[in-house]
Symmetry: C2
Amino acid sequence: MARRARTASHELALATRATKDAALETMAAALLAAEAEVLAANAEDCARAEAGGTPPNVVDRLRLTPDRLAAMAQGLRDVAGLPDPVGEVVRGSTLANGLELRQLRVPFGVVGMIYEARPNVTVDAAGICLKSGNAVLLRGSSSAAGSNAALVAVLREAAARAGLPADVVQLVPADSRDTVTHLMRARGDVDVLIPRGGAGLIQAVVQGSTVPVIETGVGNCHVYVDAAADLDMALAIVLNSKTQRTSVCNSAESLLVHQAVAEEFLPRVAAALREQDVTIHGDAAFAALEGVLPATDEDWGTEYLALEISAAVVPDLDAAVAHVRRWSSGHTEAIVTGDLAAARRFTAMVDSAAVMVNASTRFTDGGELGFGAEIGISTQKLHARGPMGLTEMTSTKFVVTGDGHVR
Amino acid sequence: MARRARTASHELALATRATKDAALETMAAALLAAEAEVLAANAEDCARAEAGGTPPNVVDRLRLTPDRLAAMAQGLRDVAGLPDPVGEVVRGSTLANGLELRQLRVPFGVVGMIYEARPNVTVDAAGICLKSGNAVLLRGSSSAAGSNAALVAVLREAAARAGLPADVVQLVPADSRDTVTHLMRARGDVDVLIPRGGAGLIQAVVQGSTVPVIETGVGNCHVYVDAAADLDMALAIVLNSKTQRTSVCNSAESLLVHQAVAEEFLPRVAAALREQDVTIHGDAAFAALEGVLPATDEDWGTEYLALEISAAVVPDLDAAVAHVRRWSSGHTEAIVTGDLAAARRFTAMVDSAAVMVNASTRFTDGGELGFGAEIGISTQKLHARGPMGLTEMTSTKFVVTGDGHVR
């Protein structure tokens, strides 16, 4: 399959933006036209999951509806509307000896996605990979196998109708763990692997892959309320970061409060969180408040993805930074402060993909930051860091033109 | 050691360009002042290597001289003269909701280098890492252990004298293979590993590392002489690509000739290569010439790094591209042609780090392309591709500033 993807990628790399955008539009229309088949296949997946005792919230993530399918089709059209990253000249100059140097954006070639549950990832990833000129190998979960097969059949048929090889999108069988292993060992045949899902899946891929991996998504995000914070603003940012949506990687999992404002802020934030049904796992200062559970070291390192938060009082900004360095997953941290020097020091010292100043952690998102489509949020430092859009799905190539230049 | 490097990297990341440049100048002066100790340590390494039967050309790569030491010191001064990549704003905008977005260049943090023989890599890597704000763990070869220890002692002392932590440069013991394994398994403590050396070393690191790796340097580079080539130019480019320096990754290892010019070009190029003592491993067309050995499949895949070249006649440009796709290591390929459509097709279809048009493969080099210092040439597609300078030794961070923004 990887070799068929490579062959397809050679053709896709030469496709013009017009051809790719037309394919995306054809795919969107085909998805809407195939609503009945796709929803029927999905209903079977959902019924099987329910019969197997899958929790209702997981079945909900798996379930497709006409609205969700329409949103997936619209997502493809949105990608068609974004600029084509392929061919962009990243750097160029004429050297002293007259050689003309250009560094151009080119597709990776073959991208492997390993992901869990949600079938919308199938369509999103196919769209982003196609637009960035990459053939994609999709390895979804077995629970969504029927939905993914139906979706990929529609996408492949539409790609072929638009004049591209159907193999620009392929679904890797999910009937065995071996197919994940094959993907992880396909160095040379697969150019990059992107795992999306829980921490266990991501770590398994990171540890086991010889193909270069982009690590995504684990977010143990902190909000630090500084001595110079506007406490009303701090309260709003803590609540939004924690509760606006809890199941996502950019929600806050830990709260740090400067001791100078602790006496005033702790009762207020504890009451407000309690009102939103958020359980607090606190240090000694927090645990003195009603209803706060004592925090363990495990709490400081936990991404709850639920209405829970760890919370501590720190003696100063540097102690907050030290705590973040010790426990953060390097996704997003926020500082609330009115003090410019504190903001500068926090943003300089905290080494995370995104640092927010007086803003919710929830803004670390490709859509919110204006990048259009997003294929994941990188928490590693190599290649891409933070939200990854079309540009991050490309490599570069140097083209050097002379008229007989030798050294 | 990796944790000490992390602590040092926190301080180094905040150092101004002035501090870093002063440290580089101090290091350069200290190297020159320590000439006697460094050369004495190196003489012991060389004597031990000779006694152990190491081939003379390998001992030569190991040997330091006053001139070579002076060149290493000058290299540090050259790096001091280059712009600081840290803090560069890569992308920035004010979003519709008033959030101010900046994407800034930041150091990786801790870089691991695993390399063979040449002690100049010790100094080059230390200088490039320091300037780009990274603490470095240097794991050289055991054959250069004494030289590397002497060099790193000088560099550490100089860094401390310039006000930086000595631990920005550390030498990892080379007395056991275990230290390489530790580096490869230090995900989280080491941010990126760069192996430099032979194909065996690089593949061992790529296969065994959970730390993200940048693969460098294997170059099975091709020169394709098109039907529309100026054959004098083609001859000069083939000879320069093959013979100007044979032991380097950007030298040519394979020659492909369009059949339309084969009758005229083959005798000329074979005679010229023979005159330079180059052994040709040819296909049937080449093997009909005097002194040409028949090529095997192994030859097409071999990076000789010596006065040897594989050579074949191809029916057309697409066949040349197919041969390159099958056998190239993705480093550098060159086309010699006067036909614009052929040049465009070849550069579009060949997926290598660098594609030369009417220029020698030997130009794939950070110095030649004007990037200043070079820490290696990436042959992978993730993060960096082609010559890697200071910019390629950095990651980025998003800093988002609001005034109480929530979603």
